[in-house]
Symmetry: C2
Subunit: 280 residues, 2 copies
């Protein structure tokens, strides 16, 4: 595994190679969810680049950016063990040099949910993802379903701008009790760790209801809220969206529904989601 | 010359060819300014694609969009005569299909001047330029210096997003009396056509002053305003910018200064610009 820090170095490395390239964009603090993305890329491509970049542009809270875990050596060792070709670890000044000013603007699908509670987050995320895709010239890029709205917007980005890259989604990896794996889980104290299972329980409650035939979004959302009340938590949102637009479902159709939720557990903000009409 | 209308068709055409590709993005209504861009591309590349797309996203006035000249057959004949490889003429529904929602956002360099008087114009322009660059996979793209702020922003776009394409600027083409060639000049009635020379005269007055040693932006701007008063015109703006930021010059440095201006002559809005420290 080689470690690169400069966009030009990554581009030169790519141009000197034939064969397909998979990119796994991460913010580091790697867990089993990231490992699944890297494994998928290794299987499907001749080369795999994993980027680690805690992107200042997509953090709406300085405190969240500062406290975001950065176990650099552990991440590097893990990626080497997995068989990654390149660890790409640019510094902020390399990604946003003096004079940088053009950004990507998410459309209406980025307006609600995470977009509402984290203003500017998706514009920053899309900007860095576009930069990483075009810097690397990747043929495929890998994203987790845990960040469902991000995945939706990245798919739109690639289609709307004609980026020549296939977006591959990988299922959310969960702890034994259902908690979605996340780099932010390390911030949970033991008591909050127990309460954090409420997210998956709320989503599962909505799915059970859906599978029993419930098709009123409001009823599904109330089922989620009931779980949170029981756990003494208050959701930032607990909603049903149409996966094809990331908007609240319009009309009677109930295909492609996904339940999405965000909750603060103690001082840690957690998100999760579940397709209602599918196994995952 | 072949005519293509679909993004996928353009991409397939490109992928089936080796050699370098030059792209000349236009809105049609071609004049000698466009011809110079096409000639430059033909000289420097194995293939040349000229796009004609009157981009609804970059028009802030419906009336301007509707009345924008569209002499389709004339344009096609002219491009065939020049030796263009591909005329790419997508319909709005092909460029912005249902679900399209991601856009490019210009930075501070797009905030003043045209950006102030045409809200949203540059975001729409950058969005379509990025789409055209990535659809075509062009190695070089050609833009006229007449739209200096557009050129500045396109250069930023390509650098900020790492688009693998060289931006080539071509000098403004002018009529014998100095009027910058523009598709909108056809809207000028004979009397307005005479008054329209005031733009080049104002810019030239600033340049003469600059060459005599004047370095106060305000004094240079007053010289332009004096020309407009004489002609009975009122400028939307007549200003000096630093070409490296497209902001008003900061501090004492007077390198890379450009005079920029926009004026309504009758009902037609005209823009022009001139480097102050070069022959241009």
């Amino acid at each position: 595994m080689i470690v690169l820090e400069q966009p030009e170095a990554l581009r030169s490395w790519r141009k000197a190679r034939t064969g397909s390239l998979g990119l796994v964009p991460t913010m580091g603090s790697l867990h089993a969810g990231h490992e699944a993305l890297v494994q998928a890329s290794l299987q499907q491509n001749d080369h795999t680049v994993v980027s680690i970049f805690v992107n200042p542009l997509q953090f709406n809270e300085t405190q969240d950016f500062d406290s975001y875990p950065r176990p650099l050596q552990e991440d590097e060792d893990r990626l080497r063990r997995l068989g990654t070709s390149v660890l790409y670890r640019p510094k902020p000044a390399a990604m946003y040099p003096e004079g940088f000013e053009t950004t990507v603007q998410a459309g209406p699908g980025g307006g609600g949910f995470e977009g509402e509670f984290r203003p500017g987050h998706f514009d920053g995320m899309l900007t860095v993802v576009l930069k990483l895709l075009l810097q690397s010239g990747a043929d495929r890029a890998y994203f987790g379903e845990k960040d469902a709205q991000q995945l939706y917007l990245v798919r739109r980005l690639v289609e709307d701008f004609h980026v020549d890259c296939e977006i591959v989604a990988c299922p959310t990896q969960r702890e034994a009790d259902g908690l979605a794996m996340s780099s932010r889980n390390v911030h949970l104290n033991p008591e909050d760790r127990v309460r954090s299972t409420a997210l998956f329980q709320a989503l599962s409650a909505a799915r059970v209801l859906f599978q029993k035939g419930e098709r009123r979004p409001q009823a599904l959302e109330q089922a989620m809220q009931a779980v949170y009340r029981q756990a003494g938590l208050q959701a930032e949102y607990a909603a049903v969206v149409d996966d094809r637009t990331f908007q609240k479902p319009a009309g009677e159709s109930s295909g492609n529904w996904r339940a999405v939720t965000a909750v603060r557990v103690g001082s840690t903000r957690l998100i999760d989601n579940l397709r209602l009409d599918a196994g995952d």
